[in-house]
């Protein structure tokens, strides 16, 4: 039971060392002894010890000196000072210098048990603290968002800026660009970070289900509502609600959510009582909401409510300089996960990855690297390992001597996709007016 704990008894008296050694040995601890401070430091250099029992009075290096050196070099090791009656002042001094506890010689075995319990409790708390601190700093970094390009630096700076505010944010970006990661980073850096982050994919839920998931329901509200259930808007209380694919929600749901954002109150389905709620809304979409407003599919007032600030995540093809970094990151990740020691991606394969258009963005790159790691037969990923990546449609058409009409269609489609179907931008790039572009879209039967 105690085998994971390692103890060192440091005392110049053999009988003390032996007594404590036998006691700890019987308690099933891993125990070693040292007859001087120097010997103890040598042992500390070689292996880890969780607890040191150190006699205060030793010839040469005193127990106090050993305590100070141990705390300086191995702060995680707990030190318990053993001292004789009459040297309580020294014990107090030792406690101030970082000792976990002290024992006055001779002591009852009970006292030693109590000290060990206390040290173990302290160690457990320290371990938990270190773990949680690590987790927290992990959350605070842009840990899972990778990229050093200027475009991504702008995104990082936006995240830092908007995290401080409580304004609703609309995150824009193609599929696979990492919209949820940006939302998580905003939440982690905000004052709400200790409250829940609740992500909901609106595109994945039918309207009626989304309504009951968001607002909750009372028993009997509809067939199958066998018990009262809190909705995500209640669960999120104080935290951040992330609505992904917000462009997919119905007009009715837009009205309901608009009311919630204005009144900060909800009513569960099948209930009449209003419940006060408090949360921050982050939304994301890959669609062009401007277009949806024009076509009448998205409410103007709701759009302005959720789009106080927007962050646009660039597609991977617009930040190709990040591809080697991302590829290496995913290579390390999947090499570790699959325990296949794949060391690198060769030059030709990397060039191909950089030139590839990545319609599925970072997610597609991640999947490609995972697949290559699993399938490769060597320690280096070569072009053969990624030949499942087909060149983008425009490139393939060029190589196939396509007709002018096909070329025009593919080019317009590519420019539209590159610009997230923003008609004004695409028309600008193509050098035509918006109405001409609309006509071309119609003529070529292009659709999002």
């Amino acid at each position: 039971m105690n085998q994971n704990m390692s103890i060192m008894v440091v005392d110049d008296e053999l009988v003390v060392r032996e007594s404590l050694y036998h006691w700890f040995d019987r308690e099933d601890y891993h125990v070693e002894t040292a007859s001087s401070g120097d010997e103890a430091l040598k042992k500390l250099m070689k292996s880890n010890f969780d607890v040191l029992f150190v006699d205060m009075k030793m010839p040469g290096m005193s127990g106090f000196e050993l305590l100070k050196k141990t705390k300086e070099l191995y702060p995680d090791a707990a030190v318990v000072i053993i001292t004789a009656y009459g040297s309580i002042d020294t014990a107090v001094k030792a406690m101030k210098a970082g000792a976990s506890d002290y024992l006055l010689k001779p002591f009852k075995p009970d006292q030693l048990s109590l000290v060990m319990e206390k040290v173990l409790r302290q160690k457990k708390m320290n371990d938990e603290y270190t773990y949680l601190k690590g987790q927290l700093s992990k959350n605070n970094r842009f840990n899972d968002i990778i990229g050093e390009s200027d475009a991504m630096k702008k995104v990082y700076s936006m995240i830092t800026e908007v995290a401080k505010t409580d304004a609703p944010i609309l995150i824009l970006g193609e599929t696979g660009t990492g919209k949820e990661l940006v939302a998580k980073a905003i939440h982690a850096k905000s004052l709400r970070c200790s409250f829940p982050f609740v992500p909901i994919n609106c595109g994945a839920l039918p309207d009626s289900l989304l309504e009951s998931e968001l607002f909750g329901y009372n028993k009997g509200a509809f067939t199958g509502a066998n018990q009262n259930r809190k909705g995500f808007l209640e669960v999120v209380s104080g935290g951040t609600l992330f609505l992904d694919e917000i462009g997919e929600i119905s007009q009715k749901m837009q009205v309901d959510l608009l009311r919630v954002l204005q009144d900060k109150k909800i009513t569960r389905l099948g209930d009449t009582r209003q419940i006060d709620i408090e949360f921050r809304l982050l939304s994301a979409t890959r669609q062009n909401l401007d277009e949806k407003i024009v076509s009448g599919d998205f409410r103007n007032d709701f759009f302005y409510r959720i789009n106080i600030i927007s962050i646009e995540i660039p597609p991977l093809r617009n930040r190709r300089e990040d591809i080697p970094l991302l590829a290496q990151h995913f290579l390390n990740k999947y090499s570790q996960e699959t325990t296949r020691k794949i060391e690198k991606i060769d030059r030709n394969a990397m060039k191909y990855l950089i030139d590839y258009d990545w319609p599925g963005n970072v997610r597609e790159l991640e999947n490609a690297i995972e697949r290559a790691v699993v399938l490769t037969k060597s320690k280096t990923i070569s072009l053969d390992d990624i030949n499942f990546l087909k060149p983008s449609s425009s490139n393939s058409l060029i190589s196939k001597n396509a007709s002018l009409k096909d070329m025009e269609r593919e080019h317009i489609k590519k420019i539209l996709e590159d610009n997230n179907w923003n008609i004004s931008n695409a028309a600008n790039i193509l050098g035509v007016s918006r109405s001409t572009l609309h006509r071309m879209i119609k003529r070529h039967h292009l659709r999002k």
């Binding site: 039971m1 009988v15 007594s19 404590l20 308690e27 010689k105 001779p106 075995p109």
Partner: protein, 171 residues
Amino acid sequence: MPSNGFSLGIQPIGEIDNFFLKVITGSFLGELSIKTFILPPLKSPEYAFNKRKIQYDAGLIINRMEKMKFPEYTKIIGIIDADLFIPVFSYVLGEARMKGRCAIISLFRLENNPERMAKVALHEFGHLMNLKHCQEKGCVMKFSNNVEQLDSNFSFFCEYCIDQLNYLLKK
């Protein structure tokens, strides 16, 4: 019963009531099927007496016992009716070294209770056989430093300890 000629000697040190010696013999026979032999009593160990503490040093007594020549006994448990200590602890109810040959138990703090004595003897015997302290509730190998803790333990080994002990006894 151990088949490989295992033998346990009980060594009275100073004056020990015959009743306690019978209880200890019965305990080892009943719990472990080990036949014990009562050795001729030794004199009170003045060499181990500490005048300042008014106690006997358990370590010194064990050292002396280990030097005695009783080749016919695999292990020996000494019994003394005096208060024992070891250098770091103010008192001990018994003392044994892991895998050692000799152990000592004291009747001094057991308030003339033979059942408690049997528990301490079985516990120290466990250490002589290389058993460590057990965390199983009630097991006689669970650490106890006073009569209250001792009373909360049974006078037998838990299933894990007895398995291990039987294995070690047959080795």
